[in-house]
């Protein structure tokens, strides 16, 4: 019996050593792979220039303060972004400040896309190298954040916003947050 167990020893060592290396390997990259848990944390620092030749100012963390905002990561290459575009447009039309972050996208392509499908965003920042995406833990598009008047992330939507999500989660949350006012930290997020 012990002999049989010994036979597994090299395999166990291999798995152990391999596991350690992998852990080391992976943990160095997980900012770009794992969604960071940012809910109820202040939005990260960022300052993005506008998309070239698009008639909207850029976005920085300071622009988030003093109002409830929806920050929407989008790109022209992303079909799901196009799928949720009508809803994003509707939210903007209803008066919510919607800030776009144009993720890993050629400015000309983003410009054409906005020209073709409409531009609902009050501000758009160009995150061409994806660094702000990393700060926000964005790996997949689309992704949207509801940010309160203090610049704290209160909700994160990975993937397309469906009408259902909008009616049952996002709009009610925004209504609550808008009543909360400024500097009401520590309130229950939902």
């Amino acid at each position: 019996m012990p002999k049989r167990l010994l036979a597994f020893l090299p395999a166990l060592i291999a798995v152990g050593v391999g596991g350690f290396f992998l852990w080391a390997l992976v943990s160095g990259r997980d900012a770009s792979i794992l969604p960071s848990v940012l809910i109820n944390e202040p939005a990260p620092q960022f300052a993005l220039a506008p998309v070239e030749d698009v008639d909207r100012p850029g976005v920085s963390r300071e622009d988030l303060l003093g109002q409830v905002t929806l920050v929407n990561f989008f790109a022209s290459w992303c079909i799901p972004c196009l799928a949720e575009h009508p809803l994003i447009t509707r939210m903007a039309e209803d008066g919510l400040p919607v800030f776009g972050i144009n993720y890993k996208n050629e400015p000309t392509e983003a410009r054409n896309w906005l020209r073709k499908y409409g531009n609902p965003y009050t501000r758009i920042g160009s995150d061409y190298d994806g660094r702000t995406g990393i700060e926000f833990g964005v790996v997949a598009l689309p992704e949207s954040f509801v940010i309160d008047q203090n610049g704290v992330i209160r909700y994160k939507q990975v993937g397309v916003i469906t009408p259902d999500d909008l009616e049952n989660i996002i709009l009610p949350l925004i209504a609550v947050l808008q009543k909360e006012g400024v500097a009401n930290e520590g309130a229950d997020p939902l």
Binding site: A14, V15, G18, G19, L22, W23, V26, D30, I33, L34, P35, A75, S76, W77, C78, I79, P80, C81, L82, A83, H85, Y103, K104, N112, W113, R115, K116, Y117, G130, V139, A140, L141, P142, Q157, V158, G159, V160, D165
Partner: protein
């Protein structure tokens, strides 16, 4: 969208373990001919690696490598033109050494739908073949590839992979990836259509300047099954979903074009466009500059020009990027076609006898009760429709397995043919009055003597039998409907086949609805015997027709033998009257024995193929198993050895077989006793075949070699064979052949 969050949140639990297994596994298996995967699918939705067809650079002036991308089920990555939003794979070779050029190849794309938008690309898995030209032949090549690609499902993830693969100096032994790389290379569209049996016929513009339609026509050596076309042009032009009209070996696509930025006028006349035709595993690329008018469909296919053929309407991708709603056949129109086609089948020779027998059986009932007639016919209706559903399931299954499917494919099965012929013979003997034994089940139904004794099961099976008999016949509308179904999804296949079934069952449905029509027929009498003898002849005619199918599909000899056996069956029945009753018991045994012999015939007799067209005589090449070790011995006895490496996925190999190896002078030459033809089937990876190819510095197929006394090391033939090239190579291989073939 919680699932998406979860999808990426599993890392520290399952992901880590899986990655250890994946990576340690990868180290163990790849012989250094592949880079590591850049991740695990438990962690990210897609991963990539570099693979090479060889373990070393050898003295090759061109190295075959590939980028393999594996996606989580449901995820897609894009072709060089994504169709809608998306971006193609790109590679940066920065940091590579001894790399002159890297030619990246795009395998033919698939059309798929992402959230209602038509897109072109690859689902679940793809290998992009790459041809590397080294600066210095024989020196190590270090590949450093930064691969950017997009993986999309209901979310999109832009991926970036840094891949490293070193190909050392030393022998270019084939790696385990040689086969797979070549499989994907075989899917890269060719510009010379002969290689894949496809031909570009012409293109032109129709419609108006604010709604132009690009018309593109292709033909094929075999009827089209599910062709699709992809059009690429200047970025300001958006091409919608093609409408297709299909007429056997000809297809005409009409592709709506619109300005990508919403301008009224579309500047398309004379613009350079690239069109890619994809039909199953084969793909052809053509460059066109379509002009207004410019192409006459009527000259190519009158049927298509007059609105015939299979029309496949643009469903029009929904949403903002949607195509213009191209007019075409809706599924409802196709279902009406299917219904009509099914009804028309009833008057075709393959079905008419069965219908007549059925009617006669009712008469046999002596105008039985209305209720009895109704239930009997309804059971047959159920049988017909059930058989069509079984056929639909088969079609769906074969399609899923990547097989080519069409109407009546089972008639290429000799055993099926023998079975049908035998059944028809038994029916005919029965109708002629040669025997009146009640056989169980299916046959009992048409043993019309016994009024009221027919079971519902019998009626059901006679319906199914009707369907089987109908399959070799094609009626107007039928091919249209089936062609449509074959290019669509599972739902459409079932819908169309059900409609066909309802159409075929229409006479039965009518009788079930108005049973009085038949119960009012005259009482049985001597007239019935005459009618039955006439029907018996009709059955014999059907059997003869099936025998002719068999002669075309299998061989004349097999068909004649089966025919003779059927005559024996009839004689046994006929003789029964003249032999003592006790010996009569041996009759069923004798019939069974003959039947078994008939089933064995196709296997026992040599299969010499006679083309049904009857124009060119196709000789069957007697392929021997691949055995390279035996070649020197064969040469020393004066033989010439022809090695043909082929694979199911190698369309050009198949084209070579059909156009050159198995026809005309080449076929008769290869049939000679002093030529041994070896076939190596590389459909699946095979180390022996890969190693053999590598001895010629080849890592892909088609590949054909001729060995003989004068060419003991083998003379390789061009990829696309010609009769002349093969005959010359055979002639050069040995002095005796040179004389014989000249």
């Amino acid at each position: 969208m919680k699932t998406n969050a979860l999808r990426f949140g599993r890392l520290l639990t399952l992901g880590l373990a899986a990655q250890i297994i994946a990576l340690t596994g990868a180290f163990a298996q790849t012989d250094g001919a592949a880079s590591d995967w850049d991740g695990s699918l438990d962690e990210v939705p897609a991963r990539a690696r570099l693979i090479a067809a060889t373990t070393g650079v050898g003295q090759l002036d061109e190295l075959r490598v590939g980028i393999e991308i594996e996606l989580e089920p449901g995820f897609k990555t894009y072709w060089r033109t994504p169709g809608g939003p998306g971006f193609p794979t790109s590679i940066d070779w920065e940091g590579s050494t001894n790399l002159d050029t890297a030619a990246f190849k795009w395998p033919a794309p698939t059309r798929f739908d992402v959230l209602g938008f038509d897109s072109f690309g690859y689902i679940d898995h793809v290998i992009f073949p790459i041809e590397i030209i080294p600066i210095e032949i024989g020196q190590p090549v270090q590949l450093r590839a930064n691969v950017g690609y997009l993986a999309c499902d209901d979310i999109c993830v832009p991926m970036s992979a840094d891949l490293t693969l070193d190909l050392p100096a030393g022998p270019a032994a084939p790696s385990q990836f040689a086969n797979q790389i070549d499989q994907f290379r075989a899917r890269v569209p060719v510009t010379d259509g002969v290689m894949v049996g496809l031909n570009f016929e012409g293109a032109g513009l129709q419609g108006t300047t604010d709604a132009p339609l690009v018309q593109i026509a292709f033909s094929a050596t075999e009827p089209f099954v599910s062709p699709d076309v992809f059009v690429e042009g200047p970025e300001e032009i958006f091409f919608g979903r093609p409408e297709m009209r299909l007429d056997g070996n000809t297809v005409v696509f009409t592709v709506p074009a619109e300005d990508a930025f919403g301008e009224e006028q579309v500047n398309i006349s004379g613009q350079p466009l690239r069109v890619t035709l994809v039909e199953g595993g084969r793909a052809l690329e053509a460059r066109i500059n379509p002009e207004w008018g410019g192409f006459d469909v009527a000259a190519l296919s009158p049927a298509i020009a007059s609105g015939g053929g299979v029309g496949i309407g643009g469903l029009g991708a929904a949403g903002a990027a949607g195509a213009t709603g191209a007019a075409g056949l809706s599924i409802f129109a196709v279902l009406v076609f299917a219904l009509l086609g099914g009804m028309i089948l009833n008057i075709f020779p393959c079905v008419l006898p069965v219908l007549s027998i059925k009617l006669l059986s009712v008469v046999g009932h002596g105008g039985g009760s209305t209720r009895e007639v109704r239930t009997g016919f309804l059971a047959s209706v159920a049988g017909i429709i059930a058989a069509f559903l079984v056929l639909a399931t088969l079609v769906v299954g074969l399609k899923a397995a990547g097989q080519t499917v069409g109407w009546g494919i089972q008639f290429q099965q000799p055993l099926f043919l023998v079975g049908m012929i035998l059944l028809l013979t038994l029916f005919a003997c029965n109708m002629w009055g040669l025997f009146e034994i009640r056989l169980p089940g299916l046959v009992s139904d048409t043993a019309v003597r016994h009024s009221g004794g027919t079971s519902l099961k019998g009626h059901f099976f006679s319906g199914s039998f009707t369907t089987l008999l109908a399959t070799p016949c094609t009626a107007p509308f039928l091919t249209t409907a089936i062609g449509f179904a074959l290019t669509r999804g599972i739902g459409e296949v079932y819908a169309v086949f059900t409609a066909l079934g309802v159409g075929l069952a229409m006479p039965f449905i009518l009788i079930a609805a108005f049973p009085k029509m038949v119960t009012k027929l005259p009482k049985p009498g001597p007239w019935m015997i005459t009618v039955k003898k006439v029907l018996s002849l009709a059955l014999v005619a059907t059997a003869v027709w099936l025998l002719s199918v068999m002669a075309a599909q299998v061989s004349l000899l097999t068909a004649s033998t089966v025919a003779a056996l059927m005559v024996v069956v009839a004689l046994i029945f006929a003789m029964r009257k003249f032999i003592p009753a006790r010996a009569g018991r041996a009759v069923p045994v004798a019939i069974a024995a003959v039947a078994i012999f008939a089933f064995a015939t196709p296997a026992l007799l040599p299969r010499s193929e006679v083309a049904s067209a009857g124009v060119e005589v196709r000789a069957e090449v007697a392929y021997q198993p691949f055995d390279p070790a035996a070649i020197p011995a064969l040469i020393s006895t004066g033989k010439v050895v022809f090695v043909h490496v082929t694979a199911d996925w190698c369309i050009t190999c198949k084209v070579n077989e059909k156009r050159v190896l198995e026809v005309g002078d080449v076929a008769s030459a290869l049939a000679r006793d002093d030529i041994v033809v070896m076939e190596a089937d590389w459909t699946r990876p095979n180390d022996d075949i890969a190693a053999y190819l590598a001895t010629f510095d080849r890592f892909g197929i088609p590949f054909d070699v001729v060995y003989g006394q004068d060419t003991p090391n083998g003379k390789t033939l061009p990829e696309l064979l010609t009769a002349n090239a093969v005959l010359t190579a055979l002639g050069n291989a040995s002095p005796t052949l040179r004389l014989a073939l000249n």
